[in-house]
Each structure stands twice: as C-alpha cells, then as structure tokens.
Amino acid sequence: MTVQETSFAVLAGLVVLFAAATALGTWLAGRTRDAIKLAWIGQLNTRIRTAWVIVLLFAAAFLLGDTAVLIFFAIASFFALREFIALTPIRSSDHAAVVLAFYVVIPVQYLLIAAEWRAMYAVFIPVYVFLVLPVVMALRQDTTNYLVRIAKVQWGLMICVYCVSHAPAIVTLDLPGQEGRGPLLLLYFLLVVQMADLLAVIASAAFGRTPLKSNPNKSREGVLAGGGAAVVLGTALAWMTPFQWWQATLMSFAIVVAGFMGGLVLASVERSLGARIWTDDGVLLTRGTLQRVDALTFAAPVFFHLALYFFMP
C-alpha cells in the first residue's frame, strides 16, 4: 500500500473506533446518577475526547501537511507554559525572562523544528536558553530567590516547550525507507501514549484495588494492566512503523514507562501548587493543558531519541 492508502485506512478505522467509544461513553453517562460512577465516566469521556484530537491532528497532517501539526503543538506549548507561569510565583523583575520565554523561545524552537535543524533544536533550550536566562535575570539586580526563580522558568520551558516540541519533531524524522511516513509514526506514538492512559482508567474500574494518590480514578493494578495492554497494542501496530514487532514492543514499553513517569511528576508539581483539584466527595477535576499533556511531555523526547539513535544510520 502507498502511504496515502495506509493513512486513509488508518484514519477511517480510527474514526469508526472512536465514534463507537463516544457513543458508548455518552450512553453510560446518561444511565447513571451515582456520583462516583459519573466521575469515572467523566474521566473516560475526557480521554475519548483527547483521542478525537489525535485523529483530527493526524487528519490535518495528512491533508494540510506537517506545518499544521507544528502550529498545533506550538499553541499547546504556549498554553502549557502560560499555565505553568500562572501557578508558579513570578516577581515583577522576572518580566524580561517571561517575555523572552513566550515571545522568543517558543517561536524559535518551533521554527528550528520546521527547518529540521536537528543539531540546533536539540540543544537550543537545554544549552543556550539555560545560559542566557540567568544573565537576563541578573541584569535586573534582583537577587531575591535568584536561583529558585531561574530554575522555575527553565523547568517550565523544558517541560512545556522542549519536551512538547519533540512530539511534532517525530513527523520530521524521515527514517531511511520511511520518507513521507512521519505522520504515521507520530500517530503511532500518540496512540500508544493515549491508549495506556485510557486503558488504565478502564482497567482500574474493572479490577482496581489500590487507588493511586495522584489520581483516585486509577489504581496500581489498573495502571499495570493498561500499560501492558498498550504495549500489546504497540506491538500489533508495528506495521505502521519502521520497527520489527519485537522492536515495536520495546519502543512502546519505553513510551508507556516514560508516560507514566511524566504523569507522576506533573501530578506532584500540580499538587505542590494547589492546582490538582479534588472536590470534597473525592472527584478529581480535569482542568488545563498541563494535565492533558503530562504523559506526552516525558514520552516524546524519549521516543524521539530512541528512534533517532537506533534507526537512523
């Protein structure tokens, strides 16, 4: 099959699958009045909506080209960084650093990816921004909590811009013999990330015993089962990728583990800032960009690097 035919078949399959999931989720939500069950179904439906975003993104990449994907993730970076800056204390002397982060770092990072200048976008934020930010802040002569303030902006940029931008960078990988199949590889990555999350919620409801501290709608057993199922799915989808089936198993295992760590770390950050919100009847509220991209932030750079390191001659 040509790339077009494969992409079209995948797209059609996903639309049917997610339409069924949406119908099921809506039907379940209409059937129950129990608050705990409703919370669980709410979690499920949030994830099904995210799955639709993935489908739309892939359709956009297919119809409009890679630039559409880059723009989408640049916007996601902007909103994630805005949320991060909102929740961490900022002083007025940080003005220059914040302006630099929003108006220089985000556009430059995504332009470097658009130009496929890999050697530069790999080090732009971790090296150059890392060195320039403390200088910009030092020029303001405000040394109150100097190190803490620099660290927060740098950390926000790493998570919200550097890590997120490595998802669209997957499209530009062009591994040997895979020219033009970048969108399929991105779709593969996003499906494994999202399905690990979705299946963990379903499995937790089916046989969860030990709820996670960071999310009472998931359990330890459910996360293990969901992650395992996502690795099986990743193996079964090996035909979308340049990987052998056993390589796809290892790759999806890496995605699932990194994604779980991302969820854990960002949940801890949000909890420390009072931004991970439970109602008094124990329902976790989903709100904001950071919470929606938490697994992706850790999984994207790991998957990108492994694919580049092992499959690019």
């Binding site: 909102a86 800032l273 931004a275 439970w278 109602t279 008094d280």
Partner: protein, 210 residues
C-alpha cells in the same frame, strides 16, 4: 444591540482561553456546600474570572453579586449578567435610602445559592484589598451555616512593570483559601479586618512558597 450570545462559544471557555483564570485551592476544596466567596477587586474582569475558575458542577449554583450601575445597563453586558452569570444585582446608588441593599443577597442565600462578593465595594487601584464594607459581617451573622471562603485574584499583567515595551500575556490566577467563621463575640471591625487579612495572606503565600 442584541447579540445572539447563544451562538458564541461558551463564555467560560472564552474567559479561560483569553485570561487563564487558573484556580488554586489552598486550604479548602471545591464543594457543593453553600458558600460566600469574597475576593479583592481591581478589575472589571474579576467577576468573570472568579466565576470561570469554579468547576462546572458549582457554577450553576453560584451567583456573583454585582452593581446594577455596571452590569444592569442593557446590551451584551446585561445579557451576560442575566443569562450566563445569573447575577444578583445590588443597588450602589441607593435610590431608595430606606431599602436594605443587602436584601437581594439575603434572598439568594435563603434560596440556597452560593455567592461571589467583593467586600471592598468598588475597584481598587492596588492589588491588595482595602478595608472591607460591613455587608460580609452582616451576611455571616444572618447565615452562620454558610462557609466564608477568602479568594485572592491575581493578574500577572498588572503586577508587571508599567510601560514595558512588550507586555506579558494576560494570566490570571484565582487562589481559594480556608473557610472563615465569625467568632462567638467577635466585633464587626475585628472580623472584617481578619477577613481582609485572610485575602492578603493568600497573596503573600506565593512569597512563602517561593
């Protein structure tokens, strides 16, 4: 002007996309218990921002209290106030000097609604709140079972240096604190000052955490 606001994107999305309205709950959690949220007031956007920061399940039952001379003048503003926010209108002008301006608030509390109020009475030029008016104390005494939640509204844009070449994006954060109660025989002024300090403490919190 009668804009069909039904066809615009939901107001709460609009507010969240444009200004953020990121909630932080420190000392209390979202709850269906009847509450009075009281906050500092320095911008026309404050009512919308606090309302948009509340979770969906609480918004329908929470009514902002707003001045009739600003929100009740017709047009899109009044339409938003009535159809989206379900505002409790209050008379600042006091056309009838004998009427109790708190009456509509007491009526809404009697019906079981939660309220959003700005006890400074009017917008202040500085981010930290000025002295509170006595309405909060009188409502707290008339409805002792209602939880009083201090809220600090912060807008990053406003705390930045004036006249900077490039403005930072508008980012507003809404910090909800722990519930207050009026003490057994606490004087009016003592309570109002304590309530004001509870809001100020949420502003200082950032420096403590940093």
């Amino acid at each position: 002007m009668n804009l069909p606001i039904k066809f615009l994107p939901p107001l709460v999305w609009l507010v969240r996309v444009l200004v953020g309205a990121y909630p932080r709950w420190i000392g209390s959690v979202p709850s269906a218990n009847q509450r009075i949220y009281f906050a500092n007031h320095s911008s026309h956007m404050d009512t919308l921002v606090l309302w948009a920061a509340l979770p969906h399940s609480l918004r329908a039952n929470t009514r902002p209290v707003a001045a009739r001379d600003y929100w009740g003048v017709g047009g899109i503003r009044q339409q938003i106030a009535q159809e989206e926010l379900n505002v409790v209108m209050i008379d600042r002008a006091r056309e009838n000097p004998d009427a109790d301006p708190l009456e509509p608030l007491q009526e809404a509390l009697g019906l079981g609604f939660s309220l959003i109020i700005f006890p400074e009475g009017t917008r202040q030029p500085q981010p930290l709140p000025g002295p509170f008016k006595s309405g909060l104390y009188r409502l707290a005494q008339a409805f002792p079972q209602v939880e009083l939640i201090p809220v600090y509204l912060e807008n990053l844009h406003r705390s930045m240096p004036k006249g900077a070449l490039l403005p930072v994006p508008i980012i507003s954060t809404v910090t909800f604190g722990a519930a207050l109660k009026v003490g057994e025989d606490e004087e009016r002024d003592a309570f109002l000052e304590r309530a004001r300090q509870a809001v100020v403490a949420l502003a200082d919190l950032d420096l403590v955490m940093a």
